[in-house]
């Protein structure tokens, strides 16, 4: 953190202090670099918009894996987090939904199976014996979809591919495939489409081999037992009201999202079905 940002945060904290439920302690939102990879501007805009909407400072805490972030929610070291539908379902007893992003009009996205642009593969079956890049073992689009597809083929990633690697970032999956490190990769369709707009030279070196069915978009979640706290309710309102003010709309535009909508657990039934397929193998 540089000095300017520290000063800005301190100033913001001082202004927001009277309104804060827990004066002096900022609201901590956990993130993974899974799709917000090294984009400091986006993170800064999001933090600024959320702080403005909440009326108190919001601290964005990044962890490398979904596992770390999920653990942070459960142990209370973050107040809420933007996670994936898969870990949400893994801990659905302990977690509750704060909202789900709406992308291109729907709170849904797809998982893409990608290969190098010049790869002739027509589907997953053609990628046998190659190197494959997953993003995170707790990612729906970056692992579960392909793993469950393989399970339906009575295969495991280890048996089907020569070698698999985890890159802990959807953009990294695209980089691994584009650079030729792996033959194929499992990637978040929303990230791939967004990269196709902001970094077209990177995605141009890859090709979408297969798309999954539409699944619930990665939601914002918090511990279920803290949902009644006023701070948490205020944060949920702030999230869902981001599109109401210019700073929020600017942050959403940078994320290529429409807004944050209220979420129903049934949104993730598709993912639950894939989890069942993987477990029932």
């Amino acid at each position: 953190m540089d000095r300017r940002r520290f000063l800005a945060q301190t100033a913001l904290a001082a202004i927001a202090a009277p309104l804060a439920a827990r004066a002096g302690e900022p609201f901590r939102l956990g993130l993974t670099p899974v799709f917000l990879d090294n984009d400091a501007a986006v993170i800064d805009r999001l933090r600024f918009a959320l702080s403005g909407a909440l009326g108190e400072p919001v601290e964005l805490i990044q962890r490398r894996t979904y596992q770390e972030i999920t653990a942070s929610i459960l142990d209370g070291s973050v107040d809420a987090a933007w996670i994936c539908g898969y870990p949400y379902l893994q801990h659905r007893d302990a977690l509750a939904l704060l909202g789900v992003p709406v992308w291109r009009g729907r709170p849904l996205y797809q998982s893409y199976l990608i290969a190098r642009a010049d790869d002739p593969a027509a589907g997953l079956a053609d990628l046998r014996g190659g190197l494959h890049a997953f993003s995170d073992p707790d990612s729906n689009s970056g692992y579960l979809v392909t793993a469950s597809d393989l399970a339906r083929m009575n295969e495991t990633p280890e048996s089907f591919f020569a070698r698999t690697i985890f890159t802990y970032g959807h953009r990294n999956v695209v980089r691994a495939v584009a650079g030729g490190l792996t033959r194929s990769g499992s990637v978040d369709g929303y990230v791939w489409e967004t990269l196709a707009q902001v970094e077209p030279t990177l995605t141009a070196r890859t090709r979408v081999v297969a798309r999954s069915e539409w699944l619930g978009f990665p939601p914002f979640a918090a511990r279920a037992d803290r949902m009644a706290e006023p701070g948490m309710r205020a944060f949920a309102r702030a999230l869902r009201g981001l599109d109401a003010d210019p700073a929020g709309r600017e942050a959403l535009a940078l994320l290529h999202l429409d807004r944050i909508a209220p979420a129903d657990p049934s949104l993730f039934d598709g993912i639950a079905a894939r989890m069942a397929a993987l477990q029932g193998r």
Binding site: R163, G179, L181
Partner: protein
């Protein structure tokens, strides 16, 4: 300029030698600079390579230890843009590729060995040579143990370009400096050697006689050269004195040849005198007999005319103002008048033949030709035995005059031949007549040939006609 350097002027030769040395010096200096540049570049490259590999080792160590393909790739990929790294491949401790900056070239799991071929260890990396890329292999150590291996290719095209630029700059700079030094050296040498050039000019380059160097042209600064030039001046004086002495000797020689003839010429005068006195007595005794008086007067007239001819020939031989008078048949008649008594005295037969019209003869100067012929005739008469033969033939044809004087004597002695045919110093006691013949002939641009045929010694003098004639 002539091809043979030995024929170049001394200033050019010394200038060229100085230039050669300067060029050698320039080359040696350039070589030194380039070698130093090469060492500096190698040191720089080794430092860069060491930092690169060490930096990668620090960053990659844990990932290589855990064989984390993605993190190794990610680290390499992010480091790729930096500096001169063209390609890097990292392998685990079994020599299998973990990741490379270009995975298509070095796929995950392939063998590192083919990339390590021809790679230098860190300490001996050199940018020497024309290659634009150097390949380095180094072990990857982490926590004190070897966990893998790294092969990296560094772009050294800028170093090669720098070396090329330095070479060109050195060539241009040294070339210009050498050219300047050569010019300066040439001017300095030319200035230093100016007295020598002066000396060479005055020594008679064009084949003429050495001329003394005017005192004002003798440098004051250099004692040795000034002394040399003054010595040269003294030498030219001695040469001139010798030439004058030779001219005086030649003058005297004319009297010497007459002196050699004096006895026979005295007889030539004395012999008719008795007849002339008898004629005078006869006139006195027979004054009343007109036919006897007339006969005696005729006799007197003939005798006196002969005496007049002899004395005129002798006077002609003495005259000093003959220079420049053209040759004529009369000159050969004079010679005959002067020489015949000597031949008669020795009862020698004289064969005399002169061919060519007066116009052709006029192309040659009278005095030296007469002197040459008289000297050779006297020499022939002395060589021929009592009652022998002496011959003279002269042929003028417009282009040349060929004089042949022969005798049936025993031939020229070695000493006489040396006097006539060479520049050998004169032996004391010997005559100078033949040497005078040689010098007169050379003075007229002629050639001397001496042959012996049919028992006769024949000396042939061939003189080219004078241009203005």
């Amino acid at each position: 300029m002539r091809a043979d350097p030995r024929s170049w002027p001394i200033t050019v030769r010394v200038g060229a030698a100085a230039a050669g040395l300067m060029i050698l010096l320039g080359l040696a200096a350039s070589q030194q600079v380039l070698a130093t540049l090469g060492r500096l570049q190698d040191a720089r490259l080794q430092e860069i390579a060491r930092l690169h590999v060490e930096g990668l080792a620090v960053a990659l160590g844990p990932f290589v230890l855990h064989k984390d393909v993605w993190e190794v790739y990610d680290t390499l990929d992010r480091a790729r843009g930096a500096g001169r790294i063209r390609f890097t491949v990292v392998a685990d401790d079994e020599g299998r590729v973990l990741a490379a900056t270009d995975p298509l070239r070095a796929p995950v799991g392939s063998a590192l060995a083919r990339f390590a071929e021809g790679a230098s260890p860190l300490g001996s990396v050199s940018a020497d040579g024309a290659e634009e890329v150097v390949r380095i292999a180094a072990p990857l150590e982490y926590q004190g143990r070897r966990v893998g291996r790294i092969v990296t290719e560094l772009d050294v095209s800028d170093l090669a370009a720098e070396r090329r630029r330095a070479t060109l700059a050195l060539l241009a700079g040294n070339g210009a400096a050498t050219a300047l030094l050569v010019l300066a050296g040439y001017l300095a040498v030319a200035r230093l050697l100016r007295p020598v050039e002066l000396l060479a000019r005055h020594m008679g380059e064009a084949g003429d006689a050495p001329r003394p160097i005017p005192e004002r042209m003798i440098p004051r600064s250099d004692n040795v050269l000034a002394r040399l030039l003054r010595n040269f001046n003294a030498m030219t004086g001695a040469i001139e004195a010798r030439a004058q002495a030779e001219r005086r000797l030649a003058e005297r020689e004319r009297f010497v040849s007459l002196g050699r003839l004096s006895s026979s010429l005295a007889h030539e005068i004395n012999n008719p005198l008795g007849g002339l006195l008898n004629a005078a007595d006869t006139i006195r005794a027979y004054a009343d007999r007109p036919e006897v008086v007339r006969q005696s007067a005729e006799l007197l007239d003939r005798g006196l005319r002969h005496l007049r001819d002899v004395s005129r020939a002798m006077l002609d031989e003495h005259r000093l103002d003959r220079a420049g008078r053209p040759l004529s048949r009369a000159d050969f008649e004079d010679l005959r008048v002067l020489f015949s008594p000597e031949a008669r005295r020795r009862a020698q037969r004289l064969e005399w033949r002169v061919e060519g019209d007066e116009r052709d003869l006029a192309a040659f100067p009278s005095a030296p030709v007469r002197q040459i012929a008289l000297n050779l005739l006297l020499n022939a008469a002395a060589a021929a035995p009592q009652g022998g033969v002496v011959e003279l033939s002269a042929e003028a044809d417009g282009a040349a005059l060929t004089l042949r004087i022969g005798d049936d004597g025993p031939g020229l002695s070695d000493a006489a031949r040396a006097r006539l045919m060479s520049e050998a110093p004169l032996e004391p006691g010997g005559g100078v007549g033949l040497r005078l013949v040689r010098e007169l002939t050379r003075g007229l641009g002629g050639a001397i040939d001496c042959a012996r045929m049919d028992g006769r010694t024949v000396i042939e003098i061939r003189l080219p006609a004078r241009a203005e004639a």
